[in-house]
């Protein structure tokens, strides 16, 4: 294993060397970095020109200049990496230091959302192969797959942001909107559960009716102008989450798991006021971390107490339930601050922003304001990115799941008389996840350098935007540094995904010939 990994890393270094060399020279022939200074009439242009030539070694031909750059990079082994400076003489690590967190913040939520939703929809679609739901999802995923992201982004800015902000002024939901949303959700859930005609119709009408009622209540009580879940909301959602988690995780037949999850819902409700109080007075990232650890500990203990024989699944259900309820409580705390946030002068009642990564005029030092501010700025780019990458996951997980469902071991599992839930979740789903894991690993790496267009359209200064700027201004050092980071991440992710593949699927022997 060690030999294999070191061989792979050796190969990766050669690849890095080659591709940086190619890119460096491509960049060098793509234009004259001193164009603007040469034609400039400013009196200082001449000295600036000479300074730049000296600091960026522009008098050395490109292939040789590459080795000057490489020498700086190789200093990483002495602990002082030298990536040079950009054209404004800012050291590259400083520039990257602000750009990388920005990009991660931008793509993290979108990627996770796309993965979770995409895999869930893809798998349900595969289970209902050739149903109307399946055909519809194929069409939707193709459609999303064909959308140019910059086009979607402009549409989102124009329609979603502006109309949502207008809507928030009085929180009134139009009748047509209620009708259409109820119909859509009814059709969707009827498609997910499918079955006989009568059953489908029942599910459709119940879901549509409940949906319409909820939306109507939210509209009448003007919930959106001062949103809150409250203790009753936490309680109701908690019970629902407990049932849903148990259903997927162990099946409702496992009474102990259900009881453990329901207990967690109850504990969440009881702890609602204390948790809210502590979070409200001094919210901080550290506090949330503590909160998470406590939740985890309580949930694990609770799971153990409820289980008699088989601990694993019960602890798992308990933890999952606790996780979702904790998220709800945090969300509720965010809502508490929402009203104050949108009424600050900096926001002025129009929270969803179409451009930029944060509101600089906010009163500083308020934790929850910052959280909400980040969320409102992430809203549009996250939707755009999710829509685009969601399609790929749906298609891929559907295809893999269909392949797995045709395997002999699935037939064996069914023949043994296992419940369909066990067959799907334990035998089929887990095996579907093996190839998906490798895709996810690569996607995460690729997306760090790949959100170029989204960042440009929404005015975020992350890695993608840096990259585009570097090309516009012929900033050699900046371009090479962004590329270096991106490519190292991709290579690492490739290695990781190969190792993961071997670890997850014992049939595949990593490193063997």
């Amino acid at each position: 294993m060690f030999a294999y990994i070191s061989r792979r890393i050796g190969a990766a270094i050669i690849v890095l060397f080659g591709s940086t060399f190619i890119l460096f020279n491509l960049e060098a022939i793509s234009g004259d970095p001193l164009q603007d200074l040469r034609t400039s009439t400013s009196p200082t242009a001449k000295t600036q020109l000479h300074d730049l030539i000296r600091t960026l070694h522009l008098n050395v031909p490109a292939p040789a200049r590459y080795f000057i750059w490489l020498k700086g990079v190789l200093k990483v082994f002495t602990g002082h990496i030298d990536l040079g400076t950009d054209r404004q003489s800012t050291p590259i690590p400083t520039v990257l230091g602000t750009a990388i967190p920005t990009t991660i913040r931008l793509v993290l939520a979108a990627t996770i959302l796309a993965i979770v939703l995409g895999i869930a929809i893809g798998i349900i679609s595969a289970l209902r192969q050739y149903s109307r739901f399946d055909y519809f999802m194929i069409f939707v995923s193709f459609f999303l797959y064909s959308l140019p992201i910059f086009w979607v982004a402009v549409l989102l800015k124009q329609f979603l942001a502006i109309s949502f902000n207008n809507f928030l002024v009085n929180g009134h939901i139009g009748l047509w909107f209620i009708v259409i949303m109820s119909l859509i959700s009814g059709i969707f859930w009827a498609g997910v559960f499918s079955g006989t005609r009568k059953r489908v119709f029942t599910i459709f009408s119940v879901v549509a009716l409940v949906n319409a009622l909820v939306l109507w209540t939210l509209s009448v009580t003007k919930w959106f102008t001062h949103p809150r879940l409250g203790i009753e909301g936490i309680f109701l959602f908690g019970i629902a989450i407990a049932f849903a988690v148990t259903l997927v995780s162990t099946g409702l037949e496992n009474r102990n798991a259900l009881k453990a999850s329901l207990t967690m819902a109850l504990v969440g409700t009881i702890l609602y006021f204390p948790a809210e109080h502590i979070l409200h007075t001094k919210g901080s990232l550290f506090l949330i971390l503590v909160f998470a650890v406590v939740t985890f500990a309580v949930a694990t203990l609770n799971g153990r107490l409820w289980s008699k024989i088989d601990q694993g699944p019960i602890v798992r259900s308990s933890n999952l339930t606790a996780f979702f309820i904790a998220i709800l409580i945090l969300f509720d705390e965010m809502m508490h601050n929402w009203v104050h946030y949108i009424n600050t002068d900096a926001v002025n009642g129009r929270p969803i922003s179409t451009i930029g990564q944060s509101n600089t005029q906010l009163p500083p030092g308020h934790f929850w304001y910052n959280v909400i501010d980040t969320a409102t700025h992430l809203f549009l780019p996250t939707i755009a990115l999710t829509l685009i990458s969601f399609a790929g996951y749906v298609r891929y997980s559907r295809g893999t799941m269909l392949e797995v469902l045709n395997q002999d071991y699935i037939r064996t599992a069914r023949a043994k008389g296992l419940t369909e839930r066990t067959v799907v979740m334990r035998h089929a789903f887990r095996n579907t996840m093996i190839p998906l894991t490798t895709i996810i690993a690569l996607d995460f790496a690729g997306i760090i350098g790949g959100a170029t267009i989204t960042e440009t359209v929404f005015g975020w200064t992350g890695m993608g935007k840096l990259f585009v700027n570097a090309i516009y201004s012929f900033d050699e050092n900046l371009l090479m540094a962004t590329f270096l980071i991106t490519s190292i991440l991709v290579l690492l992710a490739t290695l990781l995904s190969d190792l993961l593949y071997g670890a997850l699927d014992p049939r595949i022997k990593v490193g063997g010939n």
């Binding site: 064909s146 992201i149 086009w151 499918s194 799907v424 350098g449 267009i453 090309i471």
Partner: protein
Amino acid sequence: MALFRRSKKNTEDLVNAEGGLENREIEGLTQGQIVRARFFRHRGAMISIVVLVGIILLVFSSVGGNIFGINYSGWWKWTITDMPDVTQCRAGIVGCPTLSVIPKFLGGAGMHLGQHPFGQDDIGHDYFALVMRGTQRSIIIMFVLGIVAGLVGTVVGAVAGYFKGITDNLLMRLVEFIIIIPVVIVGAVIGYHFGSLGVMVLALMLGLFSWPGLARLVRGEFLSLREREFVDAARVAGASNSRIIFKHILPNAVGVIIVAVTLLMSQAILLESALSFLGFGVVAPDVSLGLLISQYQDSFTTRPWLFWWPGLFIIVICLTVNFIGDGLRDAFDPRQRRRIGRKEREESRQAIASHSVGESK
């Protein structure tokens, strides 16, 4: 529970897999005929082909252009350089589209194209002509990129997979060199320099950097196919390496290649428009759909048609190509089973029943 309940159709398909309904249907047909029949049965793909061919004919005949050095002019009354007077349609807004599709008896203005069906841009250019020219660019890039990447990827993958060993190792390192550079980055760097050289050069360069994924796919296919008996048979019969690669193995891998190239082509459209949007792909004075969108994204509130039309064409072309790819995948996949209608199943059951009754007598 219901969420995990196996759908009835799944079960029936399993039964069909064992049963001979589908098998009987393909008896006595060649592989090509089966694939063709399956493809023609894919409704989405067939509609897509009709739409795509329609768009290609419309786009290339309407405004004319320059293909392989031959200039020709189209039937549309304006060219992309004509600058008729800008018409004022509403207060402060100029160049509204004159296209109308709602007939008079439904309360519309009747079905007609008018002077400028897609409207006019700021200085009076006919927007229909601009969109047509932009779509021409997209389609040219799509096909050139598909051909270049398809050829290079297939050859590299085939050679690597067939010869294995050191050749494979070297070629796969080359693939890694190129795969690691995100194609947007490559496009940006070369587009910035070569974009002004015209759309063909841009497409060619993009094609030269888009093949690694395909090469890996083809290599995998060759690695498994080269171990098959028919390859041994060919080798024993004295066939040369190139003959085995091109005559024996390649036809068996052609399904995978065609599907992958189709998907590559649909991505090429998006890639081109994204690059042009960023200002790296097709650059002014040439026209491209991405460029049009980026020029008019700010006029969305006042003149939304400048934004809708280019986007619509990108989506429709991309969608049709994707559906054709899906149809091809279904057609080439030997495990693909057709969904068999209830009526057919009933008929076959009766046929089998009467047949067995006859036998037992």
